[in-house]
């Protein structure tokens, strides 16, 4: 595996809430703004639908970085979902950091339906960070490697 120098192509999983961030991604696309193809979007009804297990499972299945996008605080379609998500993710990220996993591999960003440009720039920035960090080793599941 080590001898052949393979270009590192990160896999980034982005959980996007249906009402804001997914629409933001859509806008980025229809505005022809580019963001890395490494980003795989998973649409969720609300950012608070994302269970901490989802984040870990994404890493297990080969993600090198996981980002959660939702409506801006105060703008949740369900009034308060993103407030709960905010607390949960803060604690989860802190725990991952505590276990020695690089804290830059996980991120939460608030992106509204009108922020296509912001969506693209967030993803570009996150992809650059993950590129720099390299492959996820600490939370990998060897069985899932090709």
């Amino acid at each position: 595996m080590q001898s052949t120098v393979k270009e590192f192509k990160p896999l980034i999983v982005a959980f996007c809430c249906n009402w804001c961030s997914y629409a933001g991604a859509d806008l980025a696309g229809s505005s022809r703004l580019s963001y890395p193809a490494d980003v795989k979007i998973i649409r969720v009804p609300c950012s608070c639908r994302v269970n901490p297990l989802f984040i870990l499972r994404a890493f297990q299945r080969g993600a090198d970085g996981v980002i959660l996008c939702g409506c801006h605080p105060g703008d949740c379609h369900y009034t308060s979902g993103n407030y709960y998500a905010r607390r949960r993710m803060t604690l989860l990220f802190s725990m991952l950091d505590y276990l020695g996993v690089d804290r830059r591999r996980v991120r939460v960003e608030w992106v509204s339906a009108a922020e296509g440009a912001r969506f693209a720039s967030v993803m570009n920035d996150f992809a650059a960070t993950i590129h720099e960090l390299g492959e996820n080793v600490k939370l990998e599941d060897l069985r899932c490697k090709q």
Binding site: R61, G62, R143, C144, Q146
Partner: protein, 341 residues
Amino acid sequence: MLKLKTANADALYSRISDSAKLYLPVKRAGQVNYDLWESGCEVTLGEMTVKSPKDLFFPQSEDLMAFRVSGKSIEIENPELPTEPFVLFGVRACDARSFDVLDRVFLSDPVDSYYEARRNCGTVVSLGCLEPLRETCFCSVFGIDLAEPEGDVQAWVLGDEMYLSAKTEKGEKLLAAVKDLCEETDGAPLAAAKDEARAKMAKNPLADLDLTGFDGEHMMEKFNAPEWKDLYQACLGCGTCTFVCPTCQCYDIRDFDTGHGIQRYRCWDSCMYSDFTMMAAGTNRKTQMERFRQRFMHKLVYFPANNEGMYSCVGCGRCVSKCPMHLHIAKVIRTLGGKKQ
């Protein structure tokens, strides 16, 4: 018989590991478990390992086959059977007997090829106890002589000397490779030490457990004993007792979806778990009382009934010291055994 100074044990381990992987009790993060020997590791022969050495022959989880899916074709890969020789060092008499129990399960028809392959690759160096390792030891109850363990090579540590004696061809081969590190001896000081060990064992708190009535003859009587209802009460339904047990041999076969195929593996199962032997129709043991009873009935009644009286408990005392609720086999034998039938 050979002997060497225990201070030189590292040279012995190093020599053995030149030709084979060497597994022995090593302390890591505060706990002693069988682990691969590496220079500088903390070999701890004087303590009971948390997990038993059965892991080396019957790993907690092991791949059985893999299915790779590409397009419409499915490829099946069988892992190769292990062929690499290894040495298992420091196995106590109780654990050495546990291999006989496992052999009866895995080497009788149909033979478990994975277990058999590992068994063939492994050389067992057993370590005689010159005193009971812990107060929870009760191997003598099952007719095991703590000072004369079974194995390819027998070893004893007396004072600052280690004695080694080959019992099988495999064992002789192993000792031939380390002969120059040792000197010949007749092992005379051992005899008295062994007798002393047996005398101490006889005084161990659990040595007086009475197995009377634990046999095929009294199966239904034991099964229907009203005491089970009280005995199991505090059982958490965790798998500690089964996972530290040297003779528990139940496993589950599972499929893991890797995203690009299926990995079929087996892993230890525990009769204490609610999904044990779960089938489409449900599980045949619905209450924790039934599960609890099953574990002890299997070890003390069913197994001896099917194996010429051989119990599938070896008295290592691991479950006795590890059960979070102290509901162990000693308590069961105390409560249900020894009655005039």
